[in-house]
């Protein structure tokens, strides 16, 4: 064993002894210090919880999986059987997007009655 090795081994032993003494010192910290450290930890955790990115990071994978699941359900062949023909679907969309037409459909009974009444008048 070379002199350098002996020195290194001596240093390692010395450092291990120091580490043991330092660790022992932690056990002797007084209650006030321990309590303040616990409070500090909870304050930090509260801040982490308030961060939007922290929660976003947790939710991002779940949101991705949820979106994929929704897409899968929509694209599933069984789901397509219940689809309306494209033209009807477009008509429905127009109705929903057009506020005036929506009013008309809400009063559909009235317009049917007017129509029937007009036919009776014509007869």
């Amino acid at each position: 064993m070379s002199g350098a090795d002996i020195n290194r081994e001596g240093d390692d032993t010395f450092v291990r002894q120091i580490k043991a003494v330092l660790d022992e010192g932690n056990a002797n910290l007084d209650a006030r210090v321990r309590s303040r450290l616990t409070q500090a930890r909870y304050a930090a955790l509260a801040q982490a919880g308030d961060r939007p990115e922290f929660w976003l990071r947790q939710w991002a994978p779940a949101a991705g999986v949820a979106a994929a699941a929704v897409l899968a359900v929509l694209m599933w062949p069984g789901a397509r059987q219940h689809e309306q023909p494209p033209d009807e679907a477009l008509n429905d969309l127009e109705i929903v997007l057009d506020g005036e037409n929506l009013d008309l459909f809400e009063d559909l009974d009235f317009y049917e009655w007017v129509d029937a009444d007009a036919e009776v008048t014509r007869i």
Partner: protein, 202 residues
């Protein structure tokens, strides 16, 4: 209905994952807090200041880096801690300078001109009377004094490597310096401590 159920279970799973991450952060902070506090106290030599510094470092880690991989937390936390310690020491230097200018206290012309802690640290063999010497025979007490007396960078390198158990690369990240500097500071610290504590070992 099926998709609602799967969405609800995903919601629960995500919530569980978030709680798990918070638990990871709590475990990390609980593990390092006492060592971090004592490292800060070695550096600033004041219990309340050290507690404030540790709290600040914890909050900064939680706010800025909680979403980083857990393996990076240690180096990041100690980097923040060392920066906070340095800020504290700079503020203290400025305060002392102002007080000195007003005729109330010690002066230092710049942060670099601070007295060498090794020179100014109490030397048990030189300063203590026999009763004090008896008290200082306690290894922990002597060790704390010796560590507190190390120059700041040696102290950081020694505590991060020997106590926190970081490797050279991680210590370099935490200290914001090269790996070569870490090795130099660490080696000098070990030799300084051996020279001071040699008699306690025997």
């Amino acid at each position: 209905m099926k998709s609602f159920n799967s969405s609800a279970s995903l919601h629960v799973a995500a919530e569980e994952k978030a709680l798990e991450s918070t638990a990871d952060l709590e475990r990390f902070l609980a593990d390092v807090e006492q060592r971090a506090f004592r490292m800060a106290r070695f550096a600033v030599r004041d219990t309340d200041d050290a507690l404030d510094i540790v709290q600040d470092a914890m909050i900064r880690l939680a706010k800025g880096y909680a979403d980083r991989p857990t393996t990076e937390w240690s180096a990041l936390f100690y980097r923040i801690l060392q920066n906070r310690i340095r800020d504290h020491q700079r503020r203290k230097t400025v305060r002392n300078r102002v007080m000195s200018w007003m005729g109330h206290g010690p002066s230092a012309s710049s942060a670099d001109d601070l007295p060498d802690p090794v020179e100014t640290a109490p030397d048990p063999a030189r300063d203590a009377d026999p009763a004090q010497r008896l008290m200082l025979a306690d290894a922990g007490d002597a060790l704390e004094r010796a560590i507190a007396g190390l120059p700041r960078r040696q102290q950081e390198a020694f505590l991060l490597r020997a106590w926190e158990g970081m490797d050279v690369a991680e210590t370099a990240k935490a200290m914001g310096c090269s790996q070569g500097s870490v090795k130099t500071h660490y080696s000098r610290a070990v030799h300084a401590l051996r020279a001071q504590l040699g008699e306690h070992q025997e």
